[in-house]
Symmetry: C2
């Protein structure tokens, strides 16, 4: 069994990006600039955004963190989005989700200029990805593809089962894995809460991608001998023994599943670190105007 070390790969990719940025800047080019809007003080969001800012430093990007209190109006937030759209110094930006309930996340996402939408959530980027056109691919699916690529995991013709049909993981992951590409070209099945034969489908998977957000959902008896298991789950489960008071827990019962796998991602340290790296990759593309002019 090979433990897929997302942390190590993510460090490597960041070094590659940093080298490219240094090269761009040395040649008189513009240093890529990522801006992030953070609304309120949600613990998870604070952690993610701080990690993104830190990753920008490592990659040699300029970063700007814009904070609003949770009572910011939708209007104010949209005005700021438009300002960032117009600001030529900002290559890409994100609005950290979730947003407070009085603000429409969809409205905010669609207000972002798709050419700066490095999260890849704008319908134009979602649509272009589905059709197979160049675009900003959203972070988690893109990070998983990168892991498959770096570990040289064959996907062509393989049975790939995806648990979960969220807009940010399950659906785009399915679109990418069925694409005529490498990684890709797999026979893709998407299972979800309404699936009748979910366990049977899982047992047939050569590649199992768990993204339901249900801690320890995937047990050993649901996994085929030799399968590749990618765990996207990151639920905070209360744990008094931890200083933070919780333990990040994946969708896969790691201890028992790991014994049967050919490859497996741990939680934490698997897919998680890769999502931030994907955002960095998109920011580099945005800085280079590699996808949109």
């Amino acid at each position: 069994m090979v433990l897929i070390d997302g942390k190590a790969v993510s460090e490597q990719v960041k070094q590659e990006i940093a080298a490219e940025v240094a090269d761009i800047v040395a040649k008189g080019g513009k240093r890529p600039h990522l801006a992030a809007i953070l609304v309120g003080h949600d613990g998870g969001s604070e952690t993610y955004v701080a990690a993104k800012v830190k990753a920008c430093d490592v990659c040699g990007f300029k970063s700007t963190l814009i904070r609003y209190e949770a009572d910011v109006t939708e209007e104010e937030l949209l005005a700021r989005v438009h300002e960032l759209n117009e600001n030529p110094d900002v290559d890409g930006f994100i609005v950290q989700l979730p947003l407070p309930e009085h603000i429409s996340e969809q409205k905010v996402i669609e207000a972002i200029d798709y050419r700066k939408d490095v999260d890849g959530f704008h319908p134009i980027n979602v649509g272009r990805m589905s059709i197979g056109l160049p675009c900003y691919v959203s972070a988690t699916p893109s990070g998983i593809l990168e892991l498959l690529k770096r570990y040289e995991i064959k996907t062509q013709g393989k049975k790939c089962v995806i648990l979960g049909r969220s807009n940010i993981v399950g659906k785009p992951m399915a679109a990418l894995m069925m694409q005529k590409a490498c990684p890709g070209d797999a026979t893709v099945t998407v299972c979800h809460s309404r699936s009748r034969d979910l366990v049977k489908e899982c047992r047939e998977a050569d590649i199992l991608i768990a993204a339901m957000g249900q801690p320890n959902f995937v047990k050993a008896d649901m996994v085929k001998e030799g399968a590749v298991v990618i765990d996207v789950g990151t639920t905070r489960v209360p744990d008094a023994s931890k200083k933070s008071g919780f333990k990040l827990t994946g969708d896969v019962k790691f201890d028992e599943v790991a014994l049967k796998c050919s490859f497996i991602t741990p939680v934490p340290g698997g897919v998680g670190p890769m999502t931030i790296v994907s955002l960095m990759k998109n920011t580099l593309l945005a800085g280079k105007k590699a996808i949109y002019k």
Copy 2:
């Protein structure tokens, strides 16, 4: 076995649309207006466009057919697209595909204002469909959903296998069938030319949607007893006994598969007539500005 009569359903839907249009016009509203651009004289395209114009008549729509010879430049065509985008009398329009090789289909599709893109091919509509937002759903998948609905075929939790991963049928069909909706909510598997266990997957399907464009590909031994079989194939196979010189042939070996099915669509007369009706439904939505203002 129930033969799904796409022709009858399509006539019924057209009558429903015509009644609604009559009502709109009686109340002083605007008669929906569909424009179609046809380039060259491809036999299939001529037939499809003629059928679309005829369907507009039945539905009470205004229609405009714009013809170009096959040597029209991309520039000219794009200029016309922009003109139609700006024309307030045109509610929706299509550019009949395929286009001659010297014209980029993707460029033309993306030039169409997504609010008038009643074919549902623009990345914004593709992306919105994937996310589950209101949009113009492309004609063939939308027509299939309508058939499933009218024949009250249950899809929730069922295993739906889709053969083919084209941008206009396989991929959107997969997105729609996995959506939390009715029809929808199915466990969806997409198979294609690279799939290793395609036959096995087919045999497990409660609903099998064949859209590979390979005449008579699906045989009886690939279909589970009692399955629902939807045949999207429409290949022109040479047939000297026909006046046209060809016979429209589906992806399913109808005679032998029909004996095992609970429901099946014939070719012709199944999915085909529904695709035009879907375009009519989108045009009505465009006329009413029901999706985009």
